[in-house]
Protein backbone atom coordinates (compact mmCIF):
# COMPACT_ATOMS: atom_id res chain seq x y z
CA UNK A 1 0.00 0.00 0.00
CA UNK A 2 1.15 3.54 -0.70
CA UNK A 3 2.36 5.68 2.10
CA UNK A 4 -0.43 8.21 1.97
CA UNK A 5 1.17 10.88 4.13
CA UNK A 6 2.47 12.93 1.24
CA UNK A 7 0.46 11.55 -1.62
CA UNK A 8 -1.16 14.34 -3.60
CA UNK A 9 -4.93 14.12 -3.32
CA UNK A 10 -6.51 13.59 -6.76
CA UNK A 11 -9.60 11.64 -5.83
CA UNK A 12 -11.78 11.92 -2.72
CA UNK A 13 -14.61 9.58 -1.78
CA UNK A 14 -17.24 11.23 0.37
CA UNK A 15 -19.71 8.97 2.12
CA UNK A 16 -23.23 10.29 2.74
CA UNK A 17 -26.13 8.55 4.44
CA UNK A 18 -28.91 11.08 4.82
CA UNK A 19 -27.65 12.30 8.20
CA UNK A 20 -27.49 15.93 9.27
CA UNK A 21 -23.74 15.90 8.67
CA UNK A 22 -24.01 15.27 4.91
CA UNK A 23 -23.69 18.96 3.86
CA UNK A 24 -20.75 19.41 6.28
CA UNK A 25 -18.94 16.42 4.84
CA UNK A 26 -19.39 17.64 1.27
CA UNK A 27 -18.29 21.19 2.12
CA UNK A 28 -15.25 19.90 4.00
CA UNK A 29 -14.24 17.71 1.06
CA UNK A 30 -14.67 20.72 -1.24
CA UNK A 31 -12.18 22.81 0.73
CA UNK A 32 -9.60 20.06 0.31
CA UNK A 33 -10.42 19.39 -3.33
CA UNK A 34 -10.38 22.97 -4.57
CA UNK A 35 -6.65 23.82 -4.39
CA UNK A 36 -5.59 20.54 -6.07
CA UNK A 37 -8.64 20.31 -8.36
CA UNK A 38 -9.26 16.81 -6.99
CA UNK A 39 -12.33 14.90 -8.15
CA UNK A 40 -15.00 14.12 -5.57
CA UNK A 41 -17.04 10.94 -5.64
CA UNK A 42 -20.08 11.12 -3.42
CA UNK A 43 -21.06 7.64 -2.29
CA UNK A 44 -24.27 6.45 -0.77
CA UNK A 45 -24.58 2.82 0.29
CA UNK A 46 -28.01 1.32 0.79
CA UNK A 47 -27.84 -1.59 3.19
CA UNK A 48 -30.01 -4.47 2.01
CA UNK A 49 -30.83 -7.04 4.67
CA UNK A 50 -30.69 -10.75 3.90
CA UNK A 51 -34.44 -11.10 3.48
CA UNK A 52 -34.03 -9.49 0.04
CA UNK A 53 -31.73 -10.46 -2.80
CA UNK A 54 -29.01 -7.88 -3.57
CA UNK A 55 -29.85 -7.76 -7.25
CA UNK A 56 -33.56 -7.37 -6.68
CA UNK A 57 -35.34 -4.11 -7.30
CA UNK A 58 -35.64 -1.78 -4.35
CA UNK A 59 -37.71 0.99 -5.85
CA UNK A 60 -38.68 2.71 -2.60
CA UNK A 61 -35.12 2.56 -1.38
CA UNK A 62 -33.56 4.08 -4.48
CA UNK A 63 -35.97 7.04 -4.36
CA UNK A 64 -34.76 7.84 -0.86
CA UNK A 65 -31.18 7.21 -1.95
CA UNK A 66 -31.58 9.59 -4.88
CA UNK A 67 -32.86 12.26 -2.53
CA UNK A 68 -29.79 11.83 -0.32
CA UNK A 69 -27.48 12.19 -3.31
CA UNK A 70 -29.46 15.25 -4.55
CA UNK A 71 -28.95 16.98 -1.19
CA UNK A 72 -25.21 16.27 -1.42
CA UNK A 73 -25.07 17.72 -4.95
CA UNK A 74 -26.97 20.81 -3.82
CA UNK A 75 -24.40 21.33 -1.05
CA UNK A 76 -21.61 20.97 -3.59
CA UNK A 77 -23.20 23.50 -5.93
CA UNK A 78 -23.34 26.06 -3.11
CA UNK A 79 -19.57 25.86 -2.73
CA UNK A 80 -19.02 25.70 -6.46
CA UNK A 81 -17.79 22.18 -7.07
CA UNK A 82 -19.04 19.18 -9.02
CA UNK A 83 -19.64 15.68 -7.65
CA UNK A 84 -19.67 12.28 -9.21
CA UNK A 85 -22.53 10.38 -7.52
CA UNK A 86 -22.27 6.65 -6.83
CA UNK A 87 -25.10 4.57 -5.43
CA UNK A 88 -24.40 1.07 -4.12
CA UNK A 89 -26.45 -1.68 -2.59
CA UNK A 90 -24.63 -3.91 -0.11
CA UNK A 91 -25.04 -6.16 2.90
CA UNK A 92 -22.62 -4.13 4.97
CA UNK A 93 -22.12 -0.38 4.64
CA UNK A 94 -18.59 -0.27 6.07
CA UNK A 95 -17.27 -2.97 3.77
CA UNK A 96 -18.91 -1.33 0.74
CA UNK A 97 -17.33 2.07 1.53
CA UNK A 98 -13.90 0.49 1.91
CA UNK A 99 -14.30 -1.48 -1.31
CA UNK A 100 -15.43 1.59 -3.25
CA UNK A 101 -12.53 3.70 -1.95
CA UNK A 102 -10.18 0.97 -3.16
CA UNK A 103 -11.92 0.65 -6.52
CA UNK A 104 -11.79 4.44 -7.04
CA UNK A 105 -8.14 4.51 -5.96
CA UNK A 106 -9.04 7.40 -3.69
CA UNK A 107 -6.37 9.11 -1.63
CA UNK A 108 -8.90 10.35 0.89
CA UNK A 109 -12.15 9.13 2.39
CA UNK A 110 -14.41 11.58 4.25
CA UNK A 111 -17.21 10.46 6.58
CA UNK A 112 -19.54 12.34 8.89
CA UNK A 113 -20.55 11.65 12.49
CA UNK A 114 -23.73 13.28 13.79
CA UNK A 115 -24.15 14.33 17.41
CA UNK A 116 -26.85 12.32 19.11
CA UNK A 117 -28.87 14.51 21.46
CA UNK A 118 -30.93 11.67 22.95
CA UNK A 119 -29.79 9.81 26.08
CA UNK A 120 -27.75 12.71 27.39
CA UNK A 121 -25.94 13.59 24.16
CA UNK A 122 -23.03 11.68 22.68
CA UNK A 123 -21.14 10.76 19.55
CA UNK A 124 -22.04 7.21 18.72
CA UNK A 125 -19.48 5.48 16.55
CA UNK A 126 -21.65 2.52 15.65
CA UNK A 127 -20.02 -0.18 13.55
CA UNK A 128 -19.41 1.50 10.20
CA UNK A 129 -16.96 4.20 11.31
CA UNK A 130 -14.64 1.86 13.24
CA UNK A 131 -14.76 -0.64 10.38
CA UNK A 132 -13.76 2.00 7.84
CA UNK A 133 -10.97 3.31 10.10
CA UNK A 134 -9.55 -0.18 10.44
CA UNK A 135 -9.89 -1.25 6.84
CA UNK A 136 -9.75 1.76 4.50
CA UNK A 137 -6.94 1.73 1.92
CA UNK A 138 -6.33 5.49 2.32
CA UNK A 139 -6.47 8.40 4.75
CA UNK A 140 -9.81 8.75 6.51
CA UNK A 141 -11.23 12.00 7.87
CA UNK A 142 -14.22 11.98 10.20
CA UNK A 143 -16.20 15.24 10.24
CA UNK A 144 -18.01 15.65 13.54
CA UNK A 145 -21.23 17.59 13.78
CA UNK A 146 -20.64 20.58 16.10
CA UNK A 147 -21.86 19.90 19.62
CA UNK A 148 -24.86 21.99 20.62
CA UNK A 149 -23.91 24.99 22.79
CA UNK A 150 -24.51 24.65 26.53
CA UNK A 151 -27.99 25.63 27.58
CA UNK A 152 -29.24 25.38 24.03
Amino acid sequence: MNDTRHAPIRRIVVSVNGASTDPLVVEYAATIAKPTKAAIVVLHVVEIDWTLPLDGSAAGLSEEAQRILDIAEASAERVGIRLEPVLLKARNVGAAIVDEAAAQEAELLVLGLPYRTRFGGDFVMGTTVPYVFKNAPCTVILVREPMPEDGA
Binding site: D49, W50, T51, L52, P53, L54, A90, R91, N92
Partner: protein
Protein backbone atom coordinates in the same frame (compact mmCIF):
# COMPACT_ATOMS: atom_id res chain seq x y z
CA UNK B 1 -28.97 -20.62 -5.13
CA UNK B 2 -29.31 -18.81 -1.83
CA UNK B 3 -27.92 -20.91 1.00
CA UNK B 4 -27.92 -20.28 4.74
CA UNK B 5 -25.08 -22.04 6.53
CA UNK B 6 -25.37 -22.27 10.31
CA UNK B 7 -22.25 -22.86 12.39
CA UNK B 8 -18.91 -21.22 11.67
CA UNK B 9 -16.62 -24.01 12.75
CA UNK B 10 -14.17 -25.57 10.30
CA UNK B 11 -16.95 -27.27 8.33
CA UNK B 12 -19.12 -24.16 8.11
CA UNK B 13 -16.18 -21.95 7.22
CA UNK B 14 -14.91 -24.08 4.34
CA UNK B 15 -18.43 -24.83 3.16
CA UNK B 16 -19.22 -21.12 2.98
CA UNK B 17 -16.01 -20.40 1.10
CA UNK B 18 -16.57 -23.19 -1.40
CA UNK B 19 -20.18 -22.20 -2.00
CA UNK B 20 -19.20 -18.59 -2.66
CA UNK B 21 -16.47 -19.72 -5.06
CA UNK B 22 -19.07 -21.83 -6.84
CA UNK B 23 -21.08 -18.64 -7.39
CA UNK B 24 -23.84 -19.10 -4.82
CA UNK B 25 -25.27 -16.46 -2.55
CA UNK B 26 -24.40 -17.49 1.00
CA UNK B 27 -24.96 -16.16 4.49
CA UNK B 28 -23.25 -17.78 7.47
CA UNK B 29 -24.69 -17.62 10.97
CA UNK B 30 -22.13 -17.95 13.75
CA UNK B 31 -23.24 -17.23 17.29
CA UNK B 32 -19.80 -16.46 18.75
CA UNK B 33 -19.20 -12.81 17.89
CA UNK B 34 -15.40 -13.02 17.85
CA UNK B 35 -15.46 -16.02 15.53
CA UNK B 36 -18.03 -14.29 13.29
CA UNK B 37 -15.76 -11.25 12.97
CA UNK B 38 -12.71 -13.38 12.19
CA UNK B 39 -14.57 -15.14 9.40
CA UNK B 40 -16.04 -11.98 7.89
CA UNK B 41 -12.56 -10.42 7.91
CA UNK B 42 -11.44 -13.36 5.81
CA UNK B 43 -14.33 -13.93 3.44
CA UNK B 44 -16.35 -10.73 3.51
CA UNK B 45 -19.73 -9.46 4.63
CA UNK B 46 -21.53 -12.78 4.54
CA UNK B 47 -21.56 -13.46 8.28
CA UNK B 48 -24.23 -12.65 10.85
CA UNK B 49 -23.22 -12.99 14.50
CA UNK B 50 -26.46 -14.69 15.51
CA UNK B 51 -27.59 -18.02 16.96
CA UNK B 52 -29.16 -19.79 14.00
CA UNK B 53 -31.50 -21.84 16.16
CA UNK B 54 -33.27 -18.66 17.20
CA UNK B 55 -36.25 -18.01 15.01
CA UNK B 56 -35.51 -14.31 14.72
CA UNK B 57 -31.96 -15.03 13.52
CA UNK B 58 -33.16 -17.27 10.71
CA UNK B 59 -35.68 -14.60 9.77
CA UNK B 60 -32.95 -11.94 9.66
CA UNK B 61 -30.77 -14.22 7.55
CA UNK B 62 -33.50 -14.41 4.91
CA UNK B 63 -34.86 -17.92 5.58
CA UNK B 64 -38.02 -16.72 3.82
CA UNK B 65 -36.21 -16.95 0.48
CA UNK B 66 -33.50 -19.55 1.17
CA UNK B 67 -33.19 -22.53 -1.15
CA UNK B 68 -31.12 -24.54 1.30
CA UNK B 69 -30.35 -24.38 5.01
CA UNK B 70 -27.26 -26.35 6.06
CA UNK B 71 -26.87 -26.82 9.82
CA UNK B 72 -23.27 -27.82 10.49
CA UNK B 73 -22.64 -26.88 14.11
CA UNK B 74 -20.91 -29.34 16.42
CA UNK B 75 -24.09 -29.97 18.40
CA UNK B 76 -26.68 -32.38 17.07
CA UNK B 77 -29.54 -30.83 19.01
CA UNK B 78 -28.79 -27.42 17.52
CA UNK B 79 -28.61 -28.84 13.99
CA UNK B 80 -31.92 -30.61 14.46
CA UNK B 81 -33.69 -27.50 15.71
CA UNK B 82 -32.20 -25.31 12.99
CA UNK B 83 -33.43 -27.67 10.27
CA UNK B 84 -36.84 -28.10 11.84
CA UNK B 85 -37.30 -24.34 12.26
CA UNK B 86 -36.20 -23.79 8.67
CA UNK B 87 -38.50 -26.49 7.35
CA UNK B 88 -41.62 -25.93 9.40
CA UNK B 89 -41.51 -22.26 10.22
CA UNK B 90 -39.93 -20.86 7.07
CA UNK B 91 -40.85 -23.57 4.53
CA UNK B 92 -37.26 -23.93 3.30
CA UNK B 93 -37.17 -26.52 0.51
CA UNK B 94 -34.01 -28.38 1.49
CA UNK B 95 -32.48 -28.82 4.90
CA UNK B 96 -29.17 -30.50 5.54
CA UNK B 97 -27.92 -31.46 8.99
CA UNK B 98 -24.54 -32.56 10.18
CA UNK B 99 -25.06 -35.40 12.65
CA UNK B 100 -22.26 -36.21 15.03
CA UNK B 101 -23.85 -39.11 16.89
CA UNK B 102 -24.61 -41.69 14.17
CA UNK B 103 -27.45 -42.98 16.32
CA UNK B 104 -29.30 -39.74 15.66
CA UNK B 105 -29.43 -40.30 11.90
CA UNK B 106 -32.71 -42.18 11.83
CA UNK B 107 -34.33 -39.79 14.28
CA UNK B 108 -33.33 -36.77 12.20
CA UNK B 109 -34.62 -38.35 9.03
CA UNK B 110 -37.82 -39.30 10.76
CA UNK B 111 -38.23 -35.76 12.07
CA UNK B 112 -38.10 -34.28 8.59
CA UNK B 113 -34.48 -33.29 7.96
CA UNK B 114 -34.00 -33.79 4.22
CA UNK B 115 -30.35 -34.73 4.16
CA UNK B 116 -28.04 -36.01 6.84
CA UNK B 117 -24.29 -35.90 6.77
CA UNK B 118 -22.58 -37.99 9.41
CA UNK B 119 -18.80 -37.61 9.49
CA UNK B 120 -18.64 -40.24 12.23
CA UNK B 121 -20.57 -42.72 10.08
CA UNK B 122 -18.43 -42.00 7.04
CA UNK B 123 -15.18 -42.62 8.88
CA UNK B 124 -16.68 -45.64 10.59
CA UNK B 125 -17.77 -46.91 7.18
CA UNK B 126 -14.30 -46.72 5.71
CA UNK B 127 -12.74 -48.36 8.74
CA UNK B 128 -15.26 -51.20 8.69
CA UNK B 129 -14.66 -51.83 5.01
CA UNK B 130 -10.95 -52.18 5.69
CA UNK B 131 -11.10 -54.62 8.56
CA UNK B 132 -11.65 -58.27 7.55
CA UNK B 133 -13.60 -59.39 10.61
CA UNK B 134 -16.00 -62.28 10.55
CA UNK B 135 -18.92 -60.05 11.11
CA UNK B 136 -21.62 -58.40 9.13
CA UNK B 137 -20.16 -55.59 7.13
CA UNK B 138 -22.25 -52.53 6.48
CA UNK B 139 -21.62 -51.54 2.87
CA UNK B 140 -24.11 -48.77 2.15
CA UNK B 141 -27.43 -47.19 3.02
CA UNK B 142 -30.26 -47.67 0.57
CA UNK B 143 -33.75 -46.35 0.13
CA UNK B 144 -33.22 -43.14 2.05
CA UNK B 145 -31.57 -44.96 4.94
CA UNK B 146 -34.26 -47.44 5.90
CA UNK B 147 -32.48 -50.27 4.14
CA UNK B 148 -28.87 -51.25 4.09
CA UNK B 149 -26.53 -53.31 2.00
CA UNK B 150 -24.69 -55.87 4.09
CA UNK B 151 -21.86 -58.27 3.35
CA UNK B 152 -21.22 -61.40 5.38
CA UNK B 153 -18.24 -63.73 5.14
CA UNK B 154 -19.22 -67.33 5.76
CA UNK B 155 -16.35 -68.46 7.95
CA UNK B 156 -15.90 -71.70 9.82
CA UNK B 157 -18.81 -72.22 12.18
CA UNK B 158 -21.34 -70.43 10.02
CA UNK B 159 -24.64 -72.31 10.12
CA UNK B 160 -25.19 -71.39 6.45
CA UNK B 161 -22.32 -73.54 5.19
CA UNK B 162 -23.54 -76.60 3.31
CA UNK B 163 -27.10 -75.32 3.19
CA UNK B 164 -29.12 -74.34 0.16
CA UNK B 165 -30.23 -70.74 0.00
CA UNK B 166 -33.89 -71.72 0.09
CA UNK B 167 -33.34 -73.50 3.43
CA UNK B 168 -31.80 -70.54 5.22
CA UNK B 169 -34.06 -68.85 7.79
CA UNK B 170 -33.84 -65.31 6.48
CA UNK B 171 -35.17 -62.52 8.69
CA UNK B 172 -38.30 -60.66 7.56
CA UNK B 173 -37.59 -58.26 4.71
CA UNK B 174 -34.05 -59.51 4.01
CA UNK B 175 -32.99 -60.69 0.59
CA UNK B 176 -29.87 -62.68 -0.19
CA UNK B 177 -29.17 -61.64 -3.73
CA UNK B 178 -25.56 -62.29 -4.59
CA UNK B 179 -22.52 -64.13 -3.38
CA UNK B 180 -18.85 -63.95 -4.15
CA UNK B 181 -16.83 -67.12 -4.57
CA UNK B 182 -13.26 -67.14 -5.88
CA UNK B 183 -13.53 -63.42 -6.63
CA UNK B 184 -16.54 -63.97 -8.89
CA UNK B 185 -19.91 -62.44 -8.07
CA UNK B 186 -22.87 -64.67 -8.82
CA UNK B 187 -26.60 -64.38 -8.27
CA UNK B 188 -28.07 -66.45 -5.46
CA UNK B 189 -30.61 -69.03 -6.62
CA UNK B 190 -32.87 -71.13 -4.43
CA UNK B 191 -30.65 -74.15 -5.01
CA UNK B 192 -27.32 -72.34 -4.40
CA UNK B 193 -25.41 -74.22 -1.69
CA UNK B 194 -23.00 -72.08 0.30
CA UNK B 195 -19.44 -73.01 1.12
CA UNK B 196 -16.93 -71.79 3.63
CA UNK B 197 -15.25 -68.64 2.37
CA UNK B 198 -18.26 -67.39 0.40
CA UNK B 199 -19.15 -63.76 0.79
CA UNK B 200 -22.87 -63.14 0.63
CA UNK B 201 -24.54 -59.83 -0.06
CA UNK B 202 -27.84 -59.02 1.59
CA UNK B 203 -30.30 -56.15 1.38
CA UNK B 204 -32.48 -55.67 4.39
CA UNK B 205 -33.97 -53.26 6.91
CA UNK B 206 -31.55 -51.76 9.42
CA UNK B 207 -32.95 -53.67 12.36
CA UNK B 208 -32.45 -57.10 10.79
CA UNK B 209 -28.76 -57.30 11.65
CA UNK B 210 -29.13 -59.34 14.84
CA UNK B 211 -31.27 -62.01 13.20
CA UNK B 212 -29.04 -62.02 10.13
CA UNK B 213 -26.05 -62.53 12.34
CA UNK B 214 -27.60 -65.72 13.69
CA UNK B 215 -28.31 -67.04 10.20
CA UNK B 216 -25.02 -66.21 8.49
CA UNK B 217 -22.33 -65.82 11.14
CA UNK B 218 -23.70 -68.10 13.79
CA UNK B 219 -22.16 -66.86 17.01
CA UNK B 220 -24.52 -65.43 19.56
CA UNK B 221 -24.83 -61.68 19.49
CA UNK B 222 -23.99 -60.19 22.87
CA UNK B 223 -26.90 -58.50 24.51
CA UNK B 224 -26.75 -54.79 23.87
CA UNK B 225 -24.28 -55.08 20.99
CA UNK B 226 -25.30 -53.32 17.84
Amino acid sequence: MFIIVVGGGKVGYYLTRELIEAGHEVVLLEKTRARAITISDEIGSVVLARDGSEGSALAEAGANRADVVAAVTGDDEDNLVICQMAKHHFAVKRTIARVNNPKNELLFRHLGVDEIISPTRMILGSIEQDIPVHELLHLADLGGGDLELIEALLAEGSPAIGKASADLPMPEGCTLFAYIRADRAQPVRAETVFREGDKVIVIGPRDCEDALHGTLIGTEVEAGAV
